[in-house]
Subunit: 465 residues, 2 copies
């Protein structure tokens, strides 16, 4: 555990580069191998600007490594969901009743570049690109790589290997295929895939739609969303079934059918996307999966972190935030001063896994919420009531969304249990008339809090949480 | 879909041989390949008599194929759990308040042999042994096998392939590794493994413990169970953590330590097992896993069934029953007369998967119930009340256990939802004093029913079931 130890990190994406930076700050000898070219030198996004939701758990990690202000300049605040109905009417549904609570749109590439720059400032951190990890020998603590520039294979040795190589992790595959220990593993695919499209800036370079919101066209069986980029464009994502329903990815095979689909369901968006058909046929359709596994570590030799340990669907905007939070939580365990890497890894997983399991489940819940529930009367009534609670009694109530997104000191699991209990309390009391939206707000808040505690207690007695 | 079609079944275990029998009865040309030798000719259990719990869902399947009476002669009724405490005191906790509801202990080998005999009576059914499936080409509907007698590899072609090759299914592996479609898959291991032991008959060939019960020594962190065999012996199974706690499989490495462990925790059982140490060191320690996956079928070519599609832990005594029920449910879909195998497979999975997912979860719940909860006061009070309901109002109440085990016309998922809601209602009303065990039983039943409906309705409104 001395700081001269050699730590090998596989993958220099968002999680790997933040981890390299933090371990570099702590004085370890850190070597990072990344399969892709250096994104600061080569445009690897092939013209697409992929953006992500960035919020308080991610910001907490930026504070830990001291680059919060640099990151802020990359952020576009989004204060709520801009809901677009079939007729093109829009409603802004805020994320919180507290004005200082909002999420941000941020460019994956720009943020990753910043993290790489910061990590490389430490002379004890070295990052190699174009080196693809093929497998990890977790008993010998070695990893084999292919050098994409020369085609050569080579093996690297280290005191510790941490794999942050994403949802398709080579090290996780070695755990699974190695069969040297009982490895629990799941991959779950949604019936829907996604495709990225774009709304380009207008001729003056300005945003064609309201900049400070996450736009949603929720149509029950499918949906379109849009997040702003700094250059005046929006990255648009279509979530659609592969093979079910009248329109699906498998049968949207002609220009006219794609236009017909958008004309019928996303007319206002279509008018902002003259480039739709080109985007649609140039960009890939990708799958949406959840990965869980355990154990994350093999003895004190190797550890999975970030998407390699827990890939989630994007609907809570928490994928990157959760991976950044991994680094914060890992750093906390390091700070406890355990005497072995095995103790560090064991404690880290024990503390952390319940939370990454929870955000995985919450993210799937939010898929159904975004594409459908946001349009339902009972859901809207619940949200209106919660916004009023948060606005009027800012220190006394946080919705499930707020607990997950803006309360970085509450774990995802606790946020899930409390948030779901609150939702259940409100939806049931609205349904049976116990809550009346015209009643005194303070009375209603007291009822919701009381009923929430009852629900949590009933589940506890039944052994359900 | 005509009956001259060739159906290839991989695996002649309990599910595969029942399926072969049923499809043989329906007139299909059925060929079965089994990796093991013919268990009617070779003793492949290596001296161990493995028995299983057999109950109403399994019996329904035997009725479907008309061999119910033959199977009955293999059954030993078990009317309840015989709970053994640390001091050796025993309590019989019945499975139901209705006398005609009980489970059975049955020999896996004898039942399998009967099913093979019955299947082979149909000249359109052929069963080959010692042929191990290596992989399945689900696009070409071919399977490759190794002949264990000659060492040769060969490929078989069929109109349809159904894999009933168990938890380690070769076809499921081909689905996973093939990456030709989005295959959701999970394997989850418990921290506990198991080891089979035995209580041999006494010198007169009689049972050394009460014959008609499932014996349980529940010790919170581990447990021992015993099921009777027709020859006067009991098959005993120890469930214990691999590496946690003072005693675990990894540290029970010497004769004296094993004896110390049994002396301390299973004294009365130890006195019946002079052969303990030999059994302990001769028999393997095996893992306990749950497997779920989807889709089960590839187009109309191939289908997974039984443990190959949904392996579960043994604690609800439903593994074999669930696999037999697969055949009943598959037969129902066949009876509907769909025009393609793809439609049959799709409808079968759509109807069935929710139920096999549910029994997988219920089986894990029961692990905790058996090793610990059965000893807790609140759990025992609940069970006593439920037994009284079932005895006094036999047509008005069924416990979760009864819904799962004795109500073969209710799906596992419905049994789970209703059973869990009942448990939650009773545990909470006992905790808050709403139910008093000395009150009028009819009043208490009415309260439980009312509260159960409330719980189900609250979950429904919150979108939780």
């Amino acid at each position: 555990m001395n700081r001269q130890q050699n730590i090998l990190i596989i993958g220099a994406g968002l999680c790997g580069s933040l981890l390299a930076l933090r371990l570099g700050q702590r004085g370890y000898n850190v070597t990072v191998y990344e399969m892709r070219p250096d994104l600061r030198k080569v445009d690897i996004s092939a013209g697409r600007s992929i953006n992500l939701a960035f919020s308080d758990r991610g910001i907490k990690a930026m504070k830990l490594v001291g680059i919060q202000e640099k990151v802020e300049s990359l952020c576009i605040p989004m204060h709520g969901r801009m809901l677009h109905d079939l007729e093109g009417n829009t409603t802004l549904a805020p994320y919180s009743g507290r004005d200082h609570e909002y999420i941000n749109s941020i460019s994956r590439g720009q943020l990753n570049a910043l993290l790489l720059d910061e990590a490389e400032k430490h002379e004890n951190v070295t990052i190699h690109f174009n080196k693809k990890c093929k497998s990890v020998n977790f008993e010998k603590t070695t990893a084999s790589f292919k050098n994409y520039e020369t085609g050569n294979l080579f093996i690297e040795d280290a005191d510790v290997i941490i794999a942050t190589d994403g949802a398709g992790s080579a090290m996780r595959k070695s755990y699974y295929l190695g069969k040297k220990f009982l490895f629990s593993f799941s991959q779950d695919w949604l019936s829907h895939g996604y495709k990225e499209l774009s709304i380009l800036p207008d001729e003056k370079g300005s945003y064609k739609a309201y900049k400070n919101a996450l736009h949603i066209w929720g149509r029950e069986d499918f949906m379109l969303i849009a997040l702003p980029n700094l250059d005046g464009s929006f990255t648009v994502t279509l979530f659609l079934s592969y093979d079910e329903g009248e329109y699906n990815f498998n049968n949207l095979t002609t220009k006219s059918r794609v236009l017909e689909f958008f004309e019928k369901y996303f007319k206002d968006a279509l008018s902002l996307m003259p480039n739709l058909v080109d985007d649609f046929f140039n960009n890939p359709t990708s799958a949406l999966g959840t990965v869980k596994c355990s154990p994350w570590h093999y003895k004190g030799n190797t550890l999975l972190m970030g998407d390699a340990a827990h890939a989630i669907v994007p609907f809570y905007g928490q994928g990157m935030n959760a991976s950044f939070e991994d680094v914060v939580e890992f750093d906390k365990i390091l700070e406890q001063g355990h005497s072995s890497w095995e103790a560090v890894f064991k404690n880290y997983e024990k503390n952390r896994k319940k939370d990454t399991d929870a955000i995985a489940d919450l993210a799937i819940d939010n898929f159904y919420e975004m594409k459908g529930h946001v349009n339902h009367v009972n859901f809207r009534e619940k949200r209106n009531l919660e916004m009023a609670f948060e606005k009027t009694f800012p220190n006394e109530y946080s919705s499930k969304y707020s607990l997950v997104t803006f309360n970085e000191d509450i774990g995802y699991r606790e946020a899930m249990l409390r948030g779901r209990a609150q939702d259940k309390a409100i939806l049931n009391m609205l349904a049976d008339g116990t809550l009346n939206l015209e009643d005194n707000l303070k009375t209603n808040l007291a009822k919701v809090k009381y009923e929430t505690e009852n629900i949590l207690e009933d589940d506890r007695i039944a052994g359900l949480n």
